[in-house]
């Protein structure tokens, strides 16, 4: 779609209209007020998510910080009669890599290493371009956003697998598995990226001028 066509579109923001996210009632913005409430259901109304970019940045930075220990610290400690083994995610990938087990290894690699980092990078890209009021590739960016939003929750699978393993493999004293510190950081990465995605307002991509966006940053 051409830029001109986008420019001609009408938005609720331009019209000063709110659509209640809860009850769907259309209402006119209360100009000058700090906060607007839906006249019917008293839901908080906003043209764009409040401080969306700032909040997204905050969650994203927190996720990025947690991403480092999540990958450096071991996620699982396996204790067998032969001794105790603590493996990080990457060690797990290497461990699983075998002529027959490589698909599983790839799944772990994608779900646990590539997707979280891709999410962080994608969100960072979206934030930067939105902040700059870029009008380039907006459809690709919104598609990227949807993909990040959709895929985000699946990263939790890794956390679930590990916690299930820890809960089921308790053959003490022969063998037992315990979650290690890395797993908590990994779970934090997943949750924080999900929160970041939630805080990001994709409508900002479509707000044409940088000035309008800055108003909600």
């Amino acid at each position: 779609m051409s830029t001109a066509a986008v420019m001609s579109e009408i938005t609720a923001l331009q019209q000063g209209l709110h659509s209640c996210e809860t009850c769907g009632l259309l209402s006119r913005g209360a100009g000058g007020a700090d906060e607007a409430r839906c006249p019917r259901c008293d839901e908080e109304l906003e043209f764009r998510k409040k401080t969306s970019i700032q909040r997204t940045w905050a969650f994203l930075i927190a996720a990025a910080i947690c991403y480092i220990p999540a990958n450096l610290l071991p996620v699982l400690t396996t204790t067998t009669a032969a001794g105790s083994d603590s493996d990080t995610i990457m060690q797990g990938v290497v461990l699983l890599w075998s002529p027959t087990g490589w698909p599983l290894s790839l799944i772990v690699l994608f779900a646990s290493i590539m997707i979280p980092s891709a999410k962080i990078l994608a969100l960072a890209y979206l934030l930067v371009t939105t902040r700059r009021g870029s009008v380039e590739n907006r459809r690709q960016r919104i598609r990227m956003y949807r993909m990040v939003e959709f895929i985000g929750r699946w990263s939790m699978v890794d956390v679930f697998v590990d916690t299930f393993t820890a809960a089921l493999v308790q053959l003490q004293p022969l063998m037992w598995v315990k979650p290690a510190a890395g797993l908590f950081f990994f779970a934090a990465v997943v949750v924080l990226t999900m929160l970041a995605v939630e805080s990001f307002d994709p409508r900002l991509i479509w707000d044409a001028s940088g000035a309008q966006v800055a108003q909600h940053a």
């Binding site: 209209l17 209402s27 006119r28 209360a30 700090d34 700032q54 905050a58 032969a82 001794g83």
Partner: protein, 538 residues
Amino acid sequence: MRAVRKWLSMPENEPATPAIPNARAVTRRRTPISLVWVIPILAAIVGAWVAVTRVLSEGPKITIVLDSAEGLEAGKTVISYKGVAIGTITRIRLSDDHLRVLAVAQMEPRTEDFLVDDSTFWVVRPRISGANVTGLGTLISGAYIGAEIGHSTIHKTDFVALETPPVVTGGTTGRVFILKTSDLGSLDTGTPLFYRRLQVGEVASYELDPDGNTLTVRIFVRAPYDKYVTPKTHFWQASGIDLSLGASGLSVQTQSLLSILIGGVAFETPAGQPMLAEAAPNTVFTLFDTHAAALAPPSVGPQSYQLVFNESVRGLEVGAPVEFRGIPIGEVTGIRAQVKLKNFEFSVPVTIQLDPQRLGVKVFNLKSGVDVEMLRRRLIDSLVAHGVRAQLRTGNLLTGAALVAFDFFPGSPPVTIDWSQYPPRLPTIPGQLEETEANVVEIINKINRLPLKQIADNLNKSLADLDLTLQSTRATMLSAHGTLDRANGLIGSNSTQVQQLDSTLQEVSRAARSIRVLTDYLDRHPEALIRGKPGAPK
């Protein structure tokens, strides 16, 4: 169309449509910076805390030089002290000259105490020796590195691992002594050490001395038994079963079942010694081969003597005991034959070593300056003058082992010892063996002298007579046989005589019955004897 156009133009033309209600305005104080920034700050703090604790929990790094990394695995092999992991091998690589293995270990925090100059490290692998099975745990978990804490204060991070695990670990108290031996026997590291059959220590290590002739065996005696080791203590090899079959018979010496299987070292302080001070650590002792050798008084200055026997020395061996009335005083050191072609005199010079001290004569317990040699000669001279002679004896009838015995033979021809020749020759008298032999020969000679032919002739004649006698006896027997047959016919059941005898006996029986009737009657009627039977016709 109009309606559509109107709908389309509506927002532009009528910005404030009355149908759309106004949102309710709420006033609230707003902070310019979102509270959400607490989250990344929190994440940063937690991350930093984790990083700091990780760094702080890292102990020092050390390098251990090993001969081989067999069984070791980087990241898995632990350094263990008293079963507690105090470090982990993180990297294993070859030394630059490719001769040794360098293992880099990450120690646990607060293990600096271990990193001193005299701390030791060694690889623990499963070790199954006779005495003990150690490191069984490593069969499953793989080898690990054992550590022993040192006492030095000099800090060190590069260590060379011991080749064999030390016997004494973990602060076991006791003392190490050194034994010198020429033969290791069945000793090995860990071989038990016995004191009065009680296991009190073990062999810690052994090594061949640089001269290649002796071995240095280090033993560890655990406290409190180490105090029983005195400078006069004797050590001997209690290796397995000490079976000796000598002139003194079969002797079996063992310490314990364990030592039968794997050998051992025993020690003992000879009785009768005054209370002695404890031996200092690393005192050097001699390791004797047998208990007897250990407890025998040290043979100080044994002297060689020669004995010449004119008899068979069968059963006499080098090493055979030389006894004085049963007390061992020396041993045979050489046997050879000597023949004089002039008169075909065959003799066997036997070299012996005598230790007169073992006789209890304290020839050496003298002030210095006294000619010990002269005293010794005087002693031997007086003994010989009193009739002491050497004799070959059979020590063991079963094995035929012989020994040289000294004893008093009063009435032996006097002999003087020629001290000028070496070795001096001591007088001998024929041994019991020879005497026995002579007796046997005499008996055989007597037997030879018997008139055997005459005896045999007489015997032959007697036998002929006997034959005749036997023939006449046979005829007599035949006639006797006929007589017996006749007698048999006489008393057979069908013979007339028997029948007659039978009828006679019946008659007698009847007669007896009538006599009984008569006597009964007479009993009742005694008058009948006079008057006759009443009623009977007169």
